[in-house]
Symmetry: C2
Subunit: 161 residues, 2 copies
Amino acid sequence: MSHDLRDGEIALPFDPAETADGPRVAFIGRIRSPWQPGAAPRNIRKAREAGCDGARVELAPAYAPGLTGLAVGQPIVLLYWMDRGRRDLILQRPGHADGPRGTFALRSPVRPNPVALATVRITALDAARGIVGIDAIDCYDSTPLIDLKPWIPTIDSPPQS
Amino acid sequence: MSHDLRDGEIALPFDPAETADGPRVAFIGRIRSPWQPGAAPRNIRKAREAGCDGARVELAPAYAPGLTGLAVGQPIVLLYWMDRGRRDLILQRPGHADGPRGTFALRSPVRPNPVALATVRITALDAARGIVGIDAIDCYDSTPLIDLKPWIPTIDSPPQS
């Protein structure tokens, strides 16, 4: 993986991909999408506009019973591991930004723990086979899934300021 | 850790805490809260009602520059690792539920990858010291943080059905 820096970017003095000593994540399944590396929409809003026929979650068989209680039409949050990016940039300069910004002020997949979030709607459900159809997704085909939760408005909306 | 099962609960045939072979998470800091094990609110709505004086994020020093560009008043999403629960329940029966439900239909901290989400508002910011005051949080004091992102309405709200 390239460790080049663009102008104004700053890397951590260590690489979490090498030094992280927390627990290991379990890949519980994969996200299937129409997108291949180098040709994915910039975010889920763009993905929704582009159309995402066939977008779905495929759980590994042992995890399928965990879908019990979910229903078509329900909004859920997917957590997935963006496994293609570096983990050591702390100040970065995405193509669309006018200058370097902190990693935690960006939704970039380049971050110490590359966990992305997508809030989607269930369009189809085959709980026995561990398959969940979703209205859209912005990640590459076969991106590892680490969690799936119900989206709950009283929990997942910001408080009034 | 107890591996007892309540009536109707089902465990995976393996324990992700032991078998997970994905990448390791990096603990980038800690969440400071008024809550101690055994005495935490059930969710962030309840935490907000109870009041959360002093709730904040404390990043490890190397990660502090990652806050550049965030501002007081902004909504953010915290991702934290609920490190006190078992990871092998796939059908579970929380105290408030009338029967067993799939882990992915619940917000329970008991899940294969115990990553919790909280959408909060920044109430204070000391980027140089890596400290972010937040309006509320529902986890125990010193829970490990793994990520912090801006909350963006076009990304983090469910699509219209």
